[in-house]
Symmetry: D3
Subunit: 270 residues, 6 copies
Amino acid sequence: MSEYKAFRVELADKIAVVTINRPEKVNAMNADFWTEIIDIFRWVDATDEVRAVVLTGEGKHFSSGIDLMLLAQVSSKLGKDVARNALTLRQTILTLQGSFNAVDNCRKPVLAAIQGYCIGGAIDLISACDMRYSTPDAQFSIKEIDMGMAADVGTLQRLPRLIGDGMMRELAYTGRTIDGTEAQTIGLVNRTFADKTALLDGVMEIAREIASKSPVAVRGTKEMIRYMRDHRVDDGLEYIATWNASMLQSEDMRIAMTAHMTKQKPEFAD
Amino acid sequence: MSEYKAFRVELADKIAVVTINRPEKVNAMNADFWTEIIDIFRWVDATDEVRAVVLTGEGKHFSSGIDLMLLAQVSSKLGKDVARNALTLRQTILTLQGSFNAVDNCRKPVLAAIQGYCIGGAIDLISACDMRYSTPDAQFSIKEIDMGMAADVGTLQRLPRLIGDGMMRELAYTGRTIDGTEAQTIGLVNRTFADKTALLDGVMEIAREIASKSPVAVRGTKEMIRYMRDHRVDDGLEYIATWNASMLQSEDMRIAMTAHMTKQKPEFAD
Amino acid sequence: MSEYKAFRVELADKIAVVTINRPEKVNAMNADFWTEIIDIFRWVDATDEVRAVVLTGEGKHFSSGIDLMLLAQVSSKLGKDVARNALTLRQTILTLQGSFNAVDNCRKPVLAAIQGYCIGGAIDLISACDMRYSTPDAQFSIKEIDMGMAADVGTLQRLPRLIGDGMMRELAYTGRTIDGTEAQTIGLVNRTFADKTALLDGVMEIAREIASKSPVAVRGTKEMIRYMRDHRVDDGLEYIATWNASMLQSEDMRIAMTAHMTKQKPEFAD
Amino acid sequence: MSEYKAFRVELADKIAVVTINRPEKVNAMNADFWTEIIDIFRWVDATDEVRAVVLTGEGKHFSSGIDLMLLAQVSSKLGKDVARNALTLRQTILTLQGSFNAVDNCRKPVLAAIQGYCIGGAIDLISACDMRYSTPDAQFSIKEIDMGMAADVGTLQRLPRLIGDGMMRELAYTGRTIDGTEAQTIGLVNRTFADKTALLDGVMEIAREIASKSPVAVRGTKEMIRYMRDHRVDDGLEYIATWNASMLQSEDMRIAMTAHMTKQKPEFAD
Amino acid sequence: MSEYKAFRVELADKIAVVTINRPEKVNAMNADFWTEIIDIFRWVDATDEVRAVVLTGEGKHFSSGIDLMLLAQVSSKLGKDVARNALTLRQTILTLQGSFNAVDNCRKPVLAAIQGYCIGGAIDLISACDMRYSTPDAQFSIKEIDMGMAADVGTLQRLPRLIGDGMMRELAYTGRTIDGTEAQTIGLVNRTFADKTALLDGVMEIAREIASKSPVAVRGTKEMIRYMRDHRVDDGLEYIATWNASMLQSEDMRIAMTAHMTKQKPEFAD
Amino acid sequence: MSEYKAFRVELADKIAVVTINRPEKVNAMNADFWTEIIDIFRWVDATDEVRAVVLTGEGKHFSSGIDLMLLAQVSSKLGKDVARNALTLRQTILTLQGSFNAVDNCRKPVLAAIQGYCIGGAIDLISACDMRYSTPDAQFSIKEIDMGMAADVGTLQRLPRLIGDGMMRELAYTGRTIDGTEAQTIGLVNRTFADKTALLDGVMEIAREIASKSPVAVRGTKEMIRYMRDHRVDDGLEYIATWNASMLQSEDMRIAMTAHMTKQKPEFAD
């Protein structure tokens, strides 16, 4: 666990708390943000002790999205030939996407705790998390439309899997801001908590519950849900059969069964 | 913009209002309807000035679905050989589907404003729109089941992407009528407005909001959401990167950025 | 219609009522259960008179899921070589999946009526049904996580198609119990009924409604919705055109049309 | 059957012979070519009497590909904004692709007879045909690479389904010219005939053989092979079962069976 | 290993030899054939001792395809309603397909040894085998086209994966007979052997070679190749990683490694 | 361009020659090999000057595949719990696959020049290249079957796209060695050259030809062929239209056109 410029990372009770830490810039996503997040989630994946992740923002707001300075920098690198510019832009977008793919592909559950602004790139980010929780007055907006562009680091790609198609289109075409209460109604967040303190407490409790389960079972469960997002039911059934062919030979099942019989709380190895 | 028999089409404030105009027949979809709708949406696509479409029905009802005369005509063309009849029917269905594909594939957002009856083929039609809004007492029914057939011009194909699977099946198997309020609860419509006047006002306002955005951004956003309906997340990410490789070289981004800095309303070319 | 050990099967009014009948074991799914369910649904498919199925549990609870004895038996068959054990386990899982695939692939609609516990394997089972209805105090839990395993007979494969992704993950990672009321809110059940009697009455009424429709139309409708779960919209449109190429040559359409004209209730052959 | 500027179309013995007819321009594909080909194949589809199509080029060469004048025209329409240019170019490409999709989607088999040059756009064209036959000294080249572009009207999309991946890449990266003999070795053409006369005779004979079969059977066969190009084996099996559900009720099967019994040549209706 | 009416089945040296045994009827596929083949391959799958299968025909010919009596019987079951006939036919086709799916899904390699006629349904059958070998004068024909129908039990679905698209279409549209030598040229058979005796000897030798390998490795290899027929490369890479997660913990790898070091022939458990 | 332990890398005439450089170990793939190959291809991708890659082996042989020491190391890391071992093995396989994915995903064409042994992992490697060329006496074998395992770093996933299904299975089940001449017949290599010197000369000449083309055109062409390996024809057509929306605005097209008119050799920027 290294030091980061755009984040603060803490590990306790098998839960990694990853906090975007640029409150003076409304947690805007600068160059450091985009590279450090990859390192952080690589560490999460490689560290057996981490069983769940809570992702949040320091201060009053979750995040205002991509730092406009960064966008300006990208533009400044372009030259005369449209085709070569296109190749450069395409690679830049793929690279930025890679930062949020690191969240999406993380083998441990990632819970987002959202207060205040959650705008533009921040929607792309939370779309890559497993679950989302917020305060009732959190403010969500697919702001990219007001930047004259289609969202390209995950919102338009992942959000249609999370909320209904009709509302998805309205929010994406208009950039309308919704609050946490409406976000819960449309399924964007699972639950709202009264304020930031209650939010963090509530999300940590869910994370601890997850951390108490068999890591083999949680990892398999996440893998399957991820797989089903883009595969057929018959393929999914075959895939879990192949996956569980080894996983059902695990110690954890014996431990779980014994705990069940003896009505005790099971303890699983990392 | 030509004259139409089954529709009335108006263009104002960059919004095309397309009104099904056979109120004396409860806006039933006759032969004119099915061919004219293709011409209308071809015109919408080709006319840069049109930035959004509002689709509605003249009179008390949105539409009672396919004209039964038309169905009877199809039957009357069949001959003795089951196989050749099947080839004819298959082509007829594909042709009818083409009329609503023209709505679905339209490059500008299409907003349906629904009052009164929205039955049978009308559900197929609104399933091909981007968003749906209605009065609370609008009446929706997948009436095809009562015609002894499975819906084949879009309801069974597109509606499962819009509402939950369980309710989808109940409505399709039973043909049960639901009102606008229940339609909102299950995600079929985004919002209800008190009566027809409020409905049209409300939908026009959303359409104007969309029309004020960058046409390049809106078109890219619609293309992506359409794409995600049937593709994988990883394919979607690659596709938007390729798409935005040219679109991020747009004037509109510079205009949007300047407007953002100067806190002025941006003006985008068609 | 044979005698079964784990089930009771009745046929009346064109509706097959399939009741899990081990109330003394909280309707736990034993070896008989897994084989008999295949025979029952083969019979349902082959019996033209059956037009809809109601699936329920005898006694206070729907089902507590897989019988732990059965799980223990599977373990006891394993030998020394991990690879050969894996091949055995993989086949065992595929076989168990086959039992619920029989429900999913049934050509007639299957309505689950759920009271009391619906836990672990019972969630896998109801995920394979067309629609789900429950009492408000029914209790649903993806219990597999507490057995140290990822659910592999359908929950993780089919449930993400039924409820939102965010809530899906929370329930699957934590095993949290939800009641019928919350189940309705997230779309897991279509409706709740005050108590078991009202539930059975209500579900039977929906089933009878379905049974009164054209069997050709119902079967085509189910086939299409099943197909759309895993296919593209354009493929779906082509498939229904091919399907209806023969089905629109049905007597049922003529019967439906005549009934519609004469305002009488149509009577369709099985 | 109308008059065409870029083509000559003849119908005899139930076979439509479609000849590219600009020999003085090496049958280069001009604006007329791209629109007329759509009309021709629409006519082919709609004309029951046509049971097979032979596609060939007037004079010494099959075709030298797209007319460079046309390419220049496309360029001249571009304006200042890269994004709007991109949208225009994208639509232009989709429109050009539509011309060859008309060949690919034609419900009757299309046999290409190729002599002399078959270059650039001509490869895109023959890739959309069912079968290809040539003289031994025909010359094939994926010339787009030498125009500074990736082939976008079908070669790179359809040819990888016709020839091996390794040779596909060599020919596409280098633009190397191969003759008819090598084309046969790699599977691009089915057979070579000594000279243009023998080629036309040979291809007509194959076309006549096809025209003598049941049109219902030929159409189903083509539909299935087209379907399998992009679908799974299990989906293909289900699709043919649905297709043949009506087609096996055809008169043609009875006619074929009777002919088989009586050892006579069957005669099928168009 | 039971007695069969349409087959003779022998097991020796870990190889099951399955012989179609109706030489007096040119091994035409009657009702017994279609049901017994399922039982046989179920036995093959369940019998660890069987490591490879050789499929051949008694007498001068491999098989003349489906028994016309059977086709006639299917027709005789049809009634008046086209739709209900279609449902019946669809189920019949799916059932017949199931017989060859049993071959395709068999977990052990199946080698077809083909002499004489291999016509109609026999092409469907060998398309479901792993490899095909023949005499030079064997005769192959997609005869369904001459029965007035599109082949629906596997030829049109599986053969396009085995031979080039261009030749596939020619053979399917014309029903042209090709001999073993041409079949080898187009990749339909792997190799030809001078006569029936040499053929059986040669195929048995290949089968014995396969039977000497690790059953775990052969089964995984077959599973992967089957999987790749219908899945993406990235999915395939992930699937084999999941599969080998257990299989690389096998005894067989240690045995193979030791044999490799000591230059001895390895002996693997069934 | 750094120094490597397992490779020698040279750049001249815009072609990178990548030579596996452990001739004393028959170019077996050790730990250095698997990590360095990723760095090399990252450098290839990032270096505009490189327009094509030639991949070859130092000494008499191309490569004998994975170093058995490496396999042994993997085994030594495993612990007691089968499930946790499985998770470790799965990640190890995914990591090794990543090394060859770097070759497959390289944006410049990669040409393999193969002499002597090309065995086991070496087949996985060349399956990830664009084209393969060899001497007539090169020796190819899918050796994994003799190690008691299914090939998991690319052979079973990519080779079925390169050679026919029937021969694929024979070679994978038996591990039979084929020489360069047979490899050409089945499409595994594009061409054979008499000996190693002629091979390198010949492959370099093809590489130089590719390097003389527009890099924008070559990159688009490779992207499209890669895309078509796993996507539908209609998706491919839409993707190239989106891709070329920017690429057809390239300078290279103007340069190519001018060169074509003036009959001069075009010079394209990197």
